[in-house]
């Protein structure tokens, strides 16, 4: 089903508006370089959270392996831009990272996506650790020391644009025929098979696209921070993305974006509290989950179309 062109256009307009505001505030000196770093990290987290939500919320597969795919993208970019330090080298490295990640996701997904819930989580966690440990022991990745002094090709503006494009692609995927099949498999595998949908195929599609998103985020991360070490991609990184998705509402892309922003801001504010930071951060998460277990938005989505037609949709949050 084709989504309304007008709707897409309004989305782009909103996205451009956001970009313009940040740009003007930077120009006017309201946003300093410290804040700009935080904004960029938030944008990278948006890409990670939205792509994980495709796997976790839309296709209903509990994956704990996002850090592994992010590591592949980051190292692909680190290694390639070291010997090819041009913007085209950077773009090439992004594509190489996506291709490798997608390939590994495909190989990993075909056998493991037959598993359910906890078992799948353990399997994906395992693959992610294998990737990290392999990187830790290879010559080309410089082992546990990691790679330093990378050229800085990504900036807040590029990451912002990429985050918008990734979100747009994933939202369009969800609303396509393929997306509806992915949702159908999540809701009821037996019924999906009964209407002729191959469940494994559509789970693998969602998993592979999600992995490609993580790899893309990894590439942008490496050439923004200008260094990569295997320690950046432990399973705690997967968990922190998982927290964003759960906090925003599993299945709500709007929620993932919101949660990435809110957690980024909370994390920054808490940096003033030193050692208490992680305690407060965890407390906020616990309290929030107690009072709003479905996340910020449950499975509600912001829709330009609904905003304009003012129609009440049945998909609106029931709580």
């Amino acid at each position: 089903m084709k989504r309304n062109l007008r709707e897409q256009f309004i989305w782009l307009l909103i996205a451009f508006g956001g970009w313009l505001i940040i740009d003007l505030l930077t120009f006017g000196g309201v946003i300093n370089s410290f804040m700009l770093t935080i904004i960029t990290m938030i944008e990278i987290n948006v890409i990670l959270a939205v792509s994980l939500n495709l796997i976790l919320g839309i296709s209903g597969q509990f994956s704990l392996g996002h850090a592994g795919f992010m590591a592949i993208g980051a190292y692909a970019s680190a290694i390639i831009t070291q010997s090819l330090p041009t913007i085209w080298g950077f773009f090439l490295s992004i594509i190489v990272g996506i291709v490798i990640s997608s390939f590994i996701a495909l190989i990993e997904g075909i056998p493991t996506l037959r598993l359910r819930g906890d078992y799948l989580a353990i399997a994906t966690l395992g693959v992610s650790e294998i990737i990290r440990i392999t990187i830790n022991n290879l010559e080309i990745t410089n082992g546990p020391k990691g790679i330093y002094n990378l050229p800085q090709f990504s900036n807040w503006s590029l990451v912002y644009i990429v985050a918008c494009i990734v979100t747009l692609i994933i939202v369009n995927l969800i609303h396509s025929k393929t997306g509806r099949a992915i949702l159908a498999v999540r809701d009821n595998e037996i019924a999906a098979s009964a209407v002729g949908v191959n469940p494994t195929k559509y789970k693998v599609i969602a998993f592979t696209v999600g992995a490609a998103g993580a790899s893309l985020a990894g590439s942008l991360y490496a050439n923004y921070i200008q260094s990569v070490t295997p320690g950046d991609f432990t399973f705690m990184q997967s968990i922190s993305v998982l927290i964003m998705v759960v906090l925003g509402g599993v299945g709500s892309i709007t929620g993932s974006v919101l949660a990435a922003v809110v957690l980024g801001v909370v994390d920054t504010v808490l940096q003033n509290y030193g050692a208490l930071r992680m305690v407060l951060y965890s407390l906020i998460l616990i309290i929030f989950m107690l009072f709003r277990p479905a996340g910020f938005l449950g499975n509600w989505e912001f829709s330009v179309k609904r905003f304009f037609t003012k129609q009440k949709s049945s998909r609106e949050n029931k709580s």
Binding site: A184, R186, N188
Partner: protein, 236 residues
């Protein structure tokens, strides 16, 4: 050869044999009921026909083709569509989207439009609730949606797994009326039921399944009056 034929079907879950060498036929245009208690192997048989399970032995033939080893999607394309047990609707999707999923493998947009109309004429309530989340429908409406979704594949043979399960008597009556309507429009029906009285009363022919074996067969009406069946399934 019959329109649809199952020969010496054996299906097991690991070491447990659920279906032990059953054979039966369905002729074009018939309603055939497969009745039996819990655990008799009814749903296993149906899932094997749909390709969701694979038999250890035996063949399934449909319209002159061997479909024993076909993938579930091929079986749907060939014209066999299943309504799974217990109202398996897609709860995150709207009623309309559920119906669209039923036509997932079809590409003929003209025929589709006619089939939507047909489904809405069988189940007017689905038209009223077109844009509603399927999860918010009542049990009976969900059963109707599951049936409508299966009809959207434009099947030649419709497999129904316990359409009466957990429904109020009024809804059961309505659903069975619609099953007869669907038959009269030319769709062949294989009905699996625990509600033996209802299932046999609309069936042309019936088979009784007991712990994985067919123990009795005959015309629906004859089975309904059989003393052994009366005792076992119809309460004396």
């Amino acid at each position: 050869m019959s329109f649809f034929e199952v020969n010496n079907l054996n299906v097991s879950y690991g070491a447990i044999k659920a279906v032990k060498g059953i054979s039966f036929q369905v002729n074009q245009g018939e309603i055939v009921s497969l009745i039996g208690a819990n655990g008799a192997g009814k749903t296993t048989t149906l899932h094997t026909i749909s390709g969701l399970l694979h038999p250890n032995e035996g063949t399934i033939q449909f319209a002159g083709k061997d479909i024993t080893k076909s993938a579930p999607s091929q079986i749907v394309t060939n014209g066999i569509s299943q309504v799974p047990e217990g109202r398996h609707v897609f709860s995150g999707l709207s009623v309309m989207e559920n119906l669209q999923m039923g036509a997932f493998l079809r590409h003929d947009s003209d025929g589709l439009q006619a089939d939507y109309e047909k489904v809405f004429s069988h189940f007017p309530v689905l038209k009223e609730r077109k844009n509603q989340d399927a999860a918010t429908l009542s049990g009976g409406e969900q059963q109707m949606l599951a049936m409508g979704r299966a009809l959207m594949a434009h099947p030649k043979l419709l497999l129904l797994d316990e359409p009466s399960m957990g429904l109020a008597p009024l809804f059961i009556k309505e659903i069975f009326g619609i099953i007869q309507q669907i038959q009269s429009e030319g769709t062949t029906i294989l009905l699996i039921e625990q509600n033996a009285r209802k299932a046999l009363s609309i069936a042309d022919r019936g088979y009784v399944l007991e712990t994985g074996k067919i123990t009795m067969t005959g015309r629906g009406r004859d089975l309904l009056n059989d003393s052994a069946i009366k005792k076992a399934y119809l309460g004396g």
